[in-house]
């Protein structure tokens, strides 16, 4: 089976985009490197034939930083199958009052939160792989 595509928004304006990006890098590089991979969202946005061929009909997970759902919408526009769409603010409740950093860097609390997000993504990747088997 091909690897599950895990794609963050990587939003540049706020820490939420960086949290999405770092959590996805943790999953695709450290936690599930054999089961998952990421794709450049900017490449997806171009709609190039090359990227459409890579993503069309493929199982995808998106992690967005805000309710505009840029990653989800862009992946869908390129033909990807978004099986699970997450957004960072949905997991913020237990972290109220914490400072997570900015769009440039994460604080210690920010890294802890990114770890938590990556655990959610990793669990989803494994579940999706098991469903296919």
């Amino acid at each position: 089976m091909s690897k599950i595509k895990v794609i963050p928004c990587s939003g540049i304006g706020k820490v939420l985009g960086l949290l999405a990006r770092e959590s996805v890098l943790m999953v695709t590089q450290e936690k599930c490197p054999n089961e998952s991979e990421t794709l450049c969202l900017a490449h997806v946005v171009t709609g190039d034939d090359e990227v459409v061929a890579k993503i069309k009909g493929q199982p995808c997970i998106t992690m967005d930083g805000c309710p505009k759902y840029c990653a989800k919408k862009s992946v869908e526009a390129a033909g990807g199958e978004v099986d699970h769409s997450y957004k960072v603010p949905d997991f913020m409740k237990p972290h109220r009052g914490e400072e997570h950093g900015t769009g440039t860097y994460l604080t210690a609390d920010g890294w802890k939160f990114a770890e938590e997000l990556s655990d959610i993504l990793a669990k989803t990747v494994i579940e999706m792989q098991e469903e296919v088997r």
């Binding site: 990006r21 996805v24 890098l25 990421t38 900017a42 946005v45």
Partner: protein, 133 residues
């Protein structure tokens, strides 16, 4: 075209080091080098947004900062909005092999990576000042 604001838009690519550098250069322009006059937009908002992003790039000059020679940011801006006023391909500054190395978490940045950010930001400032003067 109005030049009291300049949009600096990075690819933030998730598949290579150049994408990480592009993101950090945009943040450096916003926070340190040209604060106040610089605006950034999340690239996927050109697809997912309500149109404000496309209108911004039609009214104001933009500089695209791409991590590799695919130049996704430049092509996406021009596809959905207007010609860019300037563009940077990071692989031309740091070399293609380096630019295409694995994407990097911000917690693994080295002095070499920060030097790449500095060099690319200097080039961006040259283009920026050429547009605004």
């Amino acid at each position: 075209m109005i030049v009291n604001k300049i949009g600096v838009i990075g690819c933030s690519g998730e598949e290579c080091l150049g994408g990480t550098i592009s993101r950090l250069v945009v943040r450096k322009m916003l926070e340190e080098l040209r604060p106040g006059m610089t605006t950034s937009l999340c690239l996927p908002l050109f697809i997912a947004g309500d149109g404000g992003e496309r209108e911004f790039a039609e009214k104001y000059p933009t500089i695209s900062i791409d991590g590799c020679s695919k130049c996704c940011a430049k092509r996406a801006i021009e596809k959905y909005s207007n010609a860019v006023a300037g563009s940077i391909d990071i692989s031309e500054i740091i070399g293609e092999d380096k630019a295409l190395e694995k994407p990097l978490s911000t917690r693994n940045l080295t002095a070499e990576h920060l030097e790449f950010v500095k060099q690319t930001a200097e080039k961006t400032c040259e283009i920026y000042d050429g547009i605004s003067s």
